[in-house]
Structure formats: C-alpha cells, structure tokens
C-alpha cells in the first residue's frame, strides 16, 4: 500500500529525513516513533504530497509522489489528521465537514449520508449546527477525525492524534483508531506516545532522521532488548556471582539483592541459574523474565543513536 525507498529531505544543510525505506501493507497500522525533530511530520507531509522530497521515492496505492498528476490523485485517496486539528472555528461542525467533503468531490447525496454517519458515530450529530469554536478539545479532535474520513480514504495519516488531549479524550481517540483498524484501513501514525503505539500499531518504526529500527512491538523488544532474567536473592555473594559467570553469563547487573542477567534462552538457562545459586548457598526469593516495554526499547535505541 505504501512503499518508501531511500526517501531523503533536506532543508538547506539540515537533513530532516535521511534515506528512509519501508513498506506498509494494506490494512496495517504503522506507527512512526521518534523525538521532536526526528522527521516524522516531514515524512507524512512528503507522503501526502504536501512538500517535495530531495531524493528517493514513495508509492502510495500505486501512485508515485514523483508524478505531479499522481500527487493530486494521492491527495484524493488519503486522509490527513494533522497535529493541529485545523478546523474552521467560525463554522458549524456540519459546515466544516461539508466544506472538506466538497473539496474531496464527494457527490451531494453521499456527502450528506457520510457526514451524518460520521457525526453520529462520533456522538457529534446533536451538535452538528453548533459553531466549532465552542467545542472542547476532545470534540474538536473527534470532528477532525470525521473530516479525515468523510471522503472514505484508503490510507489515513495521523500526526500525533492524541497530543494535548485529556485521558478520556485520548482513550476515545485510541478506541476509534482500533475500530478503524478492524475496518482494515491502512493507518500511518506519528506518535511519541509509546504506550499508544504498543496498543494500536501492528508494526512500529523508530525514526531519528534515519530509521533506527522497524518491526512489531514484540519483535523490537526481542531483537533490540535481548532476554533478561531477574533474580531476587537474600544476598548477592561473590560465590553466587562466580557460579553464574562460570555458566557463561558475563553480563550481570546488580541492584542490592536483585540480579539482572542477560541470558540466551530463559527456559533453558533459568534452571541452571537456580541450581547454581542454591549450590552457592543463596536463597532465591523470586525469579522472572524481564519483559521490557516499548518505551525501554525506544529510549535505549534513541540514546544509542544520539
């Protein structure tokens, strides 16, 4: 559905996006993670054919961003939810949607049906004639989502869709994105809310101008974090440490009576670790696998690449 090859964008001497390549399948929810200034918004803007790239290419739904005619077609088939909702505060909810639906050339009868459908779906039908300026942030975000969907786009781009929202509105937006996922829409999501990416995205990419890592949240955890076993003992003694190291586990982090050991395969390695500790006279209080969050992986990778 989206194929990006060696995409680069420079603003003068500044490299905003550096040699980005990735592929997103139809119906996939892809999350692009990265700190501020990592090039996430620039990537979305290039893909939406709002700004040009310096080099490389991208194909969306068979349409190339290199072709001027295709760019207009690309904008017909995508929906963009920018970081700022960008609604006309002086117009009513209905008129906001109607304006955009007209620009997307939705036929009149379909336009009315779709506006009604999305306003009802997002609990805004009762406020359809109310001026948007009086809406809460959550309501505005809902309306902006409706605007993004009103022309039934095949691909959705969402730039920080829950930024600056309260927890209730954030949950509502996330649930709605999950509903869209069930409809098999292709969603490209920019976020630095890692729990959001973990819950919503099929795959994530970590971007810091260049792509640092890509995969499902589980794959990233496994491949980038490694496997670790955490053992709580009554006391960490030299004998215990010597015993564990003799098993070939060199990397052990000690924090009081807690040992975090880098292992290859917890199922295979943990029994020998337990035996060694007991043989060394240690008393095991707890033993568990350390499951990192996506945040742990993200921070580690971003710091490693800085």
């Amino acid at each position: 559905m989206i194929k990006i090859e060696n995409l680069t964008k420079r603003f003068g001497n500044l490299i905003a996006v550096d040699n980005l390549s990735l592929q997103i399948e139809e119906g996939e929810v892809f999350g692009l993670l990265g700190p501020n200034g990592a090039g996430k918004t620039t990537t979305i803007r290039i893909l939406c054919s709002l700004i040009s790239k310096t080099s490389g290419t991208a194909i969306l739904n068979g349409l190339s961003i290199d072709n001027k005619k295709d760019c207009l077609e690309i904008r017909k088939t995508i929906g963009l939810l920018p970081e700022n909702v960008g609604l006309y505060e002086g117009l009513s909810a209905y008129k906001n949607l109607d304006f955009f639906a007209k620009l997307y050339q939705c036929p009149e009868n379909e336009r009315k049906e779709r506006i009604e459908y999305y306003l009802k779906m997002l609990d805004l039908w009762g406020k359809k004639d109310v001026t948007v300026g009086t809406f809460s942030k959550g309501m505005k975000q809902k309306l902006a989502i409706a605007r993004t969907l009103v022309h039934e786009p095949k691909i959705l781009f969402m730039d920080e869709p829950t930024a600056n929202l309260d927890p209730e509105a954030t949950k509502m937006v996330r649930d709605f994105i999950l509903d869209l996922k069930k409809e098999k829409r292709t969603i490209f999501l920019n976020t630095h809310m890692l729990d959001e990416a973990e819950r919503i995205c099929d795959r994530v990419g970590i971007l810091n101008t260049h792509l640092i890592a890509i995969g499902s949240p589980d794959e990233l955890r496994r491949s980038l974090w490694g496997k670790k076993t955490v053992v709580m003992v009554d006391a960490v003694t030299d004998r215990i440490l010597k015993g564990i190291k003799s098993l070939g586990f060199e990397k052990i982090v000690i924090d009081n009576n807690k040992m975090t050991i880098d292992v290859n395969d917890p199922h295979h390695d943990n029994p020998s670790i337990i035996r060694t500790i007991q043989d060394a006279g240690g008393q095991i209080q707890t033993i568990s696998d350390l499951v990192p969050s996506l945040e742990d992986v993200y921070l580690k990778e971003i710091r490693r690449n800085e």
Partner: protein, 247 residues
C-alpha cells in the same frame, strides 16, 4: 497553469465569505467606509450647493475628484478581508488540512482572492450607485442635467476600482506570507493607499487632471502592477512554501 476546477474555487470562495459574514469587525470594515463615501460626500455637496454661494461650475472638478475616492476604497477594504482570509488560515492552523485536499495551489489562491474581491467590488458598485443617485438628486436643480454617470466615473468604477482591488489582494497575499497576525498584515497592506493618496493630492494641486485619458493611463499602470504582483503572489502561494517558509 494547471486546469482549474471551478467547483473547488467556488467552494473555497463561499466558505471564506461565510466566515467573513460571521466576523462582525470585517463586516463593519467593509460596510462603513463605502457608506460614508456614498452618503457623506453627497450630503456635503448638498450643503455647499444650498448654503454657500459658490458657482456650480466651480464645483465640477470637486465632484470628479470625489469619484477618485472609490479607487481608494477599493484599495483599502480588500486589505481587511484578504489579510483575514490568508493570515486567518495561518493563525487558526487550518491551512494544512486545506492543502491536503485534492485542490491545486492556484484553485486555493483564486478561491480566496475571489472571496476578498467579490464582496468588495459588490459593495463598491452598490455605493457607487447610491453616490450617483444622491449626487444627481442634490445637484440636478443647479446643474440642469444629470452629472453622473459620466465617462470618467464609468472608467473609475468599471476599470480602475477592480484593478486597484486586485492589486490590494495580491499585496495582502504577499504580506500574509511574512506575518503572523491579522492586524500587522492589515497595517502593512495599507501601504497600498500611498500611491493613490499621492495621485489624489496631485490632482488637488492640479499637477494632473482627472479626465478620461488619465483614468485610462492609471488603469493601464494598475494592470501592469497587478500582473507583476500576481506572479510574485503565485510564486509564494505554493504548498511547500506555505508549509515550510511562511512565518
């Protein structure tokens, strides 16, 4: 220039006009000045004609000079509307969703320019009619014929005012790309008045006379300036420029 989708242009124009109507300060700015000119000036003439012993022939150049105010009007009012139209989209951060729609840069530029042009030119035409009718009512008894319309006034209203209006809008587009608040845009755009005020003063001091030829020359100069400003504003109103370079 890529093919324009007239529906898109009209959708943008009507949306903008709908927003202007809701903004009272824009509405008042667009209404008050034309009303002052179209009603106020004839009242002054009525007072002079009826209460001062001035030979009516001496007033003819004044009547003609009054016509010049319509060019000034058509230059000043669009700065209010066009500044809101372009800078307003920036301050309300509505430009990005608009630019993400399948519209061309030219359609957006034309749609927004028409939204500033049409209400102003309509207002100018309406106030010109009121002005002509009142002037003729107040002066007919003394002049003996209908002073308005005359060729100078027709050229001013049908040629000079639309061209001055376009110039003002294009200047507003250029200024809007460099400022971030509506008031600053309006203040900067009001420099458009300077050449017209200068021209008016030159006519007052009889350096130039307001006649058909002068008005046609002014129209020609305005048309050239419009073409020049159009090229600049069109170059500035590109998606990439707007998203990456507009302040």
């Amino acid at each position: 220039m890529s093919k324009l989708n007239r529906k898109n242009v009209w959708t943008i124009t009507t949306k903008d006009i709908g927003l202007f109507i809701k903004k009272k300060w824009i509405l008042y700015s667009a209404l008050i000045l034309p009303l002052i000119i179209s009603i106020g000036l004839p009242i002054i003439v009525w007072y002079i004609v009826n209460h001062r012993a001035v030979p009516i022939q001496l007033l003819f150049p004044v009547f003609t000079a009054f016509s010049f105010f319509f060019i000034i009007l058509s230059a000043i009012i669009p700065t209010v509307i066009a500044s809101y139209s372009f800078v307003g989209e920036k301050t309300e951060k509505t430009l990005e969703p608009l630019l993400a729609t399948p519209t061309t840069d030219d359609e957006i530029l034309l749609g927004k320019s028409l939204a500033a042009f049409l209400p102003v030119i309509l207002m100018i035409f309406l106030s010109a009619v009121i002005f002509m009718v009142l002037m003729d009512i107040f002066t007919f008894a003394k002049v003996g014929y209908l002073f308005f319309p005359n060729w100078i006034f027709v050229i001013i209203i049908l040629l000079d005012t639309p061209l001055a209006c376009v110039m003002s809008i294009e200047l507003s587009v250029i200024i809007s790309s460099r400022v971030n608040d509506i008031r600053s845009a309006q203040q900067l755009a009001s420099v458009v008045l300077v050449p017209f005020l200068l021209l008016y003063l030159l006519t007052e001091f009889s350096v130039i006379t307001i006649d058909v030829n002068t008005m046609l020359i002014i129209a020609g100069i305005l048309a050239l300036i419009d073409i020049f400003l159009f090229l600049i504003s069109r170059a500035l109103f590109r998606r990439e420029e707007i998203l990456t370079k507009w302040k």
